[in-house]
């Protein structure tokens, strides 16, 4: 690989960060601020294109894709150096390209969406900060650099979710997101420390010495910790905690739906396309660690945990999404569910399938969120789908684009990327040797996905308008960015069909030939038929339940038929309540304890401060107050009068000074005598 490519990779996160800093410090007006943010993002996009091209040209070798590395020393202490670095490889390059491209479109959309916001410039500052940090996460070749950027991403997410902090719900959601993800990050940090202790390096790849390379992996997999667990498994599970928090996996998913309190472009960028995918990316990046010590079937304890978590999350998210009425919350739970799909693929060993679904999902989910933003904007900031309807006529552009996104998500056959990516995941899950249950869970989740998306389409776009004010189509600046996203949602699928699994080849560094025959093998046909059946079942069910009943009734048809189940599902299967009853109660008990401890400590420190610094009759207090300050006014008066000040000093002050230095000397000499004895 050319040497300039890793250099360029290191530079890619900088333009958005620079834009954020410039907006923060220069306080530009609205237009220049947006221009700065867009310029930064566009520069990064150009850089990402070049890096992607470089990775494409570099191809691969026997041992995998070619990696361009750039390592620099952060600081040295004694003989220990702490290097940081970036890596340019197909995985990172494709993520960089996706983040910059989708990010740029969302930036453009935000210009329209945030038009009336008084803190418009600040919004773009936060967006740029987020973008730069996220690019840092995917460019990093060091677990430490990744962690630093990861936390910056968390900070940016906190700022953006709580952007409308005057709304108490938004402030609470921001806090919830920040704290929940911190739980996972603690695990990630512990894993990082543990790895560093064991291997002495935090670089992923380092010419044979990195922690994802053979020697380190063998040693990690060879040692066991408590319970006979391999060290690599223990560390992997700790790292996975971070991924669970960030990627909204069950049971730490609770923050993601609440995060929809943020502006809709934020939901599209952070809580659909990029940040929540960071957890999936992390697992994909350190996949060799998760897979270390696996036998011929590629199964390890760590990967089994990942697969089960993914499968449960996929079904859980899909079930809860069925009974939501807020257009963004449906999409949020859908995101939770789709992230579960990705984790399932990774756990089953299909890195290419998982990452491909990540990329495809980024496109169509960003499309859906921006479409939802357009709908919300057009309906006068109404988010309840029961109060919408008939938007097909009033918002035709949004309708078509949203429809494309919906079909991609539901997995409509052949033409849409979601079809191919989901099929690949089903293939991986089916081939998983441990258990078939995750496969069945994923199948059920896929049916439900088609079902809830059909429900949403019917509620929002079909029927008649049920709201108050007439809806209107959104301005160009908001709808145009959706077009490339829609194109991506369609075209991306052709990069990972069974006939031409180009993407998998690209990630592995192998050239892949176009072989239409592979499409018509028995296995491939069977899975395509299964996928079609899944999508068709979901859509048909949705149509049957919702299209026939008049949408104007307040009651959901499912609610009338299965009241108990619906209530449970619409209350998100009571996970939040569960936390409220357990964690929060524990916490409030802890809080009381802490408050009491705090009181005691404060009394102690206050007491110590008072006793030691003022009282104690002694050193600090005596010197500062009685010796220096009590004579203060007197001396000042003498000085002001300008008479006899010298004698006054001779009379008292100088002696005190001398006395004190003398006391110090005596103390030191007594100390010496004590040492000698």
């Amino acid at each position: 690989m050319e040497t300039w490519i890793p250099w360029l990779t290191a530079l890619i996160p900088l333009p958005p960060l620079a834009a954020a800093a410039a907006i923060l410090f220069l306080h530009p007006c609205r237009r220049p601020a947006a221009a700065l943010a867009l310029a930064g993002q566009a520069l990064s996009l150009l850089g990402a294109l070049a890096v992607f091209g470089g990775a494409l040209a570099a191809g691969g070798t026997e041992g995998g894709p070619v990696r361009g590395l750039l390592t620099f020393t952060w600081f040295t202490h004694g003989d220990t150096a702490l290097p940081l670095g970036v890596a340019a490889d197909p995985l990172g390059a494709s993520m960089l390209l996706m983040i910059t491209f989708v990010g740029l479109l969302i930036f453009i959309h935000s210009i329209g969406y945030m038009r009336e916001d008084p803190r418009f410039a600040r919004f773009f500052c936060f967006l740029s900060l987020f973008s730069g940090a996220m690019l840092g996460v995917v460019a990093a070749n060091s677990l430490l650099l990744l962690f630093i950027c990861w936390e910056l991403v968390g900070l940016a997410s906190y700022l953006l979710i709580g952007f409308w902090f005057q709304k108490p719900s938004a402030a609470a959601a921001a806090r919830k997101a920040f704290l929940t993800t911190r739980v996972g990050d603690l695990g990630l940090f512990l894993g990082l420390l543990w790895i560093y202790k064991e291997t002495g390096t935090l670089l992923f790849y380092d010419g044979g010495h990195g922690l994802l390379e053979q020697s380190a992996l063998t040693s990690l997999a060879g040692q066991t910790v408590a319970g006979g667990m391999a060290l690599s498994t223990a560390v992997s599970l700790l790292l996975f905690c971070g991924a669970v928090g960030k990627s909204g996996q069950f049971p730490l998913h609770i923050w993601l739906p609440d995060a929809m309190e943020g502006p809709t472009p934020v939901s599209a960028l952070i809580h659909a396309a990029t940040m929540v995918a960071a957890g999936v990316y992390l697992v994909a990046r350190v996949f060799p660690l998760f897979a270390a010590g696996a036998g011929g079937d590629g199964v390890t304890t760590a990967l089994t945990v990942v697969a089960w978590t993914g499968a449960v999350t996929a079904l859980f998210g899909a079930v809860v999404a069925v009974a939501q009425n807020d257009i963004k919350r449906i999409l949020a739970y859908s995101t939770v569910s789709q992230l579960g799909f990705m984790m399932l693929a990774l756990g089953a060993g299909g890195v290419a399938a998982g990452i491909f679904h990540l990329l495809a999902h980024a496109f169509f989910k960003a499309l859906l969120f921006l479409g939802a933003g357009s709908v919300i904007h057009g309906c006068g900031h109404e988010q309840d789908i029961r109060k919408m309807g008939g938007l097909r006529k009033t918002m035709p552009v949004t309708f078509i684009l949203y429809g494309i996104g919906m079909m991609a998500l539901a997995g409509f056959p052949f033409l849409f990327s979601g079809f191919w990516s989901k099929e690949a995941i089903l293939v991986e899950a089916f081939a998983w040797p441990v258990s078939r249950i995750p496969f069945l869970l994923a199948l059920a989740a896929a049916v439900l996905t088609a079902f809830y998306m059909t429900r949403q389409m019917i509620y929002v776009f079909l029927g008649t308008w049920r709201g108050k004010d007439r809806p209107h189509e959104s301005p160009r600046v908001m709808t145009l960015p959706l077009v490339p996203l829609a194109a991506g949602a369609v075209l991306l699928g052709f990069l990972a069909t069974p006939a031409w699994p180009w993407f998998a080849g690209f990630l592995a560094g192998e050239a892949v030939a176009f072989s239409p025959g592979a499409l018509f093998t028995g296995k491939s046909l069977a899975f395509m038929a299964l996928s079609i059946l899944v999508a068709a079942t979901g859509v048909a069910a949705g149509w049957l339940v919702y299209a026939r009943s008049p949408a104007s009734t307040a009651e959901d048809p499912l609610q009338t038929r299965f009241p108990a189940a619906h209530r449970a599902v619409s209350r998100r299967l009571l996970v939040d309540e569960f936390y409220e009853r357990t964690v929060l109660r524990l916490q409030s008990a802890g809080e009381n304890g802490c408050a009491r401890l705090d009181g005691v400590l404060r009394r102690v420190t206050d007491g110590a401060g008072a006793v030691l610094s003022r009282g104690l009759g002694g050193l600090a207090g005596l010197l500062d107050r009685s010796v220096l300050n009590s004579g203060f006014d007197t001396v000042c008066q003498f000085l002001r009068a300008g008479t006899a000040w010298l004698s006054s000093l001779h009379q008292g002050r100088a002696q005190n000074y001398l006395r004190f230095v003398g006391i110090g000397m005596v103390v030191l000499l007594l100390f010496y005598a004590w040492l000698q004895s």
Partner: protein, 496 residues
């Protein structure tokens, strides 16, 4: 000795002295109507140009030279002469706005003379020369502290500083003469060599303790710190900034040099339960006292200047920790920390000066709502105080990290974990210190301004440049500590 060599070696100091004379001359000139025709900005610019020129001249001097140990030039002294010059340059940024209005030329001249003294302290390896250079710097600083004749606080500050300084100088000189009498040399390396063959006797120990007391005054270590709160409080802002930065840098530099070059064989041990005679236990005692009394006294302060003084005492304690380990790593940590501490102190005094000018006082309450009126200044103040509190990713964090980890390695002669007690004490006190820094920041950011008196808002441009430089350097060194630490370590390795 060749006078041409001598002239070449002191060329930077010569440039500074010439500049000082020029500035004093220009400042004394009376124009029409008796008023001085030169603005203080112009005079300051000349002074700054002189400092920059001295720095450039320093770069042109031979890499290594020595004049019989009286004056030494090697990579380390060169680096720290640059640091001293940089401190003076940053201090000059405060002169046009905040120096006493009368006799600006002389004021600038004194700053330059002090710089000459500090610069000579750095480059000397002979007790006599060290003493002379310290006195040159100190005498200039005494006058600078008391320059504001109309202000009784300033006069009081100078008086206390002077009295304390002269007593300390007496101790230093007495200690030096004892050491000379015992070892027969004033040259640092020769003292070290002579000690290798001599048994240590109480009279020698007395000499070392007296020297420690004298230098303890320079580095503001408890119990020789009493002058600092009053001097910091009463001195004009630029003087206080120079006392807190350049003077402290030179003090620590020369303390480290003397201890390591001369008394390396008489280091002893400060391991818990295993104290052994030498300078290490004395230093450990001073460090412990400084950390405890500095931080506890700072808790009780309402004047921000006094708070900064006690915080300087506490930081002196942390820095002494690094000296205890004695190795290259520890010394590099000390030099790294003292450099960035100096910058932080100048920046903080700049902010205090601005607040005093606008709001008429330096108590914590005067800082209320600063973020609303001068957001840039407030932001820089945040950087300074948070760096002093040692929070990543600012340079103060790495400085403390290096100091504490080097001390965790133990002293050269002692048990590898012998200093854990001192490090734990330092860490505990550091946590405590967060309280008083945040108390000030809370006023700055969370409180509304007391009353709107219609005074100016925003940050003056020259001060803004200085604050941007220092705050930028602190953030930058926090992200890339290697950029300063590497040169220091390399220079230390050359020196040996």
């Amino acid at each position: 000795m060749n006078y041409l060599e001598f002239l070449i070696l002191v060329l930077p100091e010569a440039v500074l002295t010439m500049t000082a004379l020029i500035v004093i001359g220009l400042g004394a000139k009376s124009g029409r109507g008796g008023a001085n025709p030169f603005s203080s900005g112009f005079l300051t610019a000349i002074g700054a140009a002189g400092i920059v020129a001295a720095g450039l001249v320093l770069a042109l001097l031979p890499a290594e030279a020595s004049l019989g140990g009286m004056l030494v030039l090697d990579p380390l002294t060169r680096l720290f002469k640059w640091v001293i010059l940089a401190m003076s340059l940053l201090t000059l940024a405060l002169v046009p706005g905040w120096a006493p209005p009368a006799h600006r030329g002389e004021y600038l001249g004194l700053i330059l003379f002090a710089t000459v003294g500090l610069s000579l302290v750095i480059s000397s390896e002979d007790l006599l020369m060290i003493f002379l250079a310290l006195e040159l710097a100190s005498l200039s600083l005494y006058i600078l502290a008391g320059y504001n004749c109309d202000d009784s606080y300033s006069a009081e500050a100078a008086m206390k500083y002077f009295l304390f300084g002269s007593i300390s100088a007496a101790f230093l000189l007495f200690g030096m003469s004892l050491v000379y009498g015992y070892t027969g040399s004033t040259h640092l390396a020769e003292i070290g060599a002579a000690l290798a063959d001599l048994p240590t006797e109480p009279i020698f120990a007395l000499g070392v303790v007296m020297m420690l007391a004298g230098l303890g005054f320079k580095v503001v270590a408890v119990p020789f710190h009493l002058w600092a709160p009053d001097a910091y409080q009463g001195a004009p802002a630029p003087s206080a900034a120079l006392i807190a930065s350049g003077s402290k840098v030179a003090g620590f530099f020369i303390l480290a040099k003397i201890l390591l070059l001369s008394f390396a064989d008489w280091d002893g041990s400060a391991d818990w339960g295993g104290f052994a005679t030498g300078w290490v236990p004395f230093l450990a005692l001073l460090a412990a006292l400084s950390m405890v009394f500095g931080n506890l006294s700072a808790l009780a302060q309402t004047s921000v200047r006094r708070l900064l003084a006690y915080s300087a005492v506490a930081h002196g304690g942390y820095i002494l920790l690094g000296l205890l380990s004695g190795g290259t790593v520890g010394i590099a940590a000390v030099l790294f920390y003292i450099t960035l501490y100096g910058m932080t102190a100048i920046g903080a005094f700049g902010v205090v000066a601005l607040v005093e000018q606008r709001r008429g006082g330096d108590s914590v309450a005067h800082f209320a709502g600063l973020a609303k009126e001068a957001p840039f200044t407030a932001g820089c103040f945040l950087v300074f105080l948070i760096s002093l509190a040692g929070i990543p990713p600012l340079a103060g964090f790495f400085g403390k990290f290096f100091l504490f980890t080097s001390a965790l390695g133990g002293s050269a002669a002692g048990d590898p974990s012998g200093l854990v007690w001192l490090v734990s004490l330092g860490l505990g006190m550091n946590v405590l210190s967060l309280y008083y820094y945040l108390r000030v920041l809370k006023q700055v950011f969370a409180r509304p301004p007391a009353e709107s008196t219609g005074h100016a808002t925003g940050t003056p441009p020259l001060l803004g440049c200085m604050l941007a430089t220092t705050a930028g350097a602190i953030i930058f060194l926090g992200c890339f500590p290697n950029l300063l630490l590497k040169p220091i370590e390399a220079a230390l390795r050359v020196v040996g």
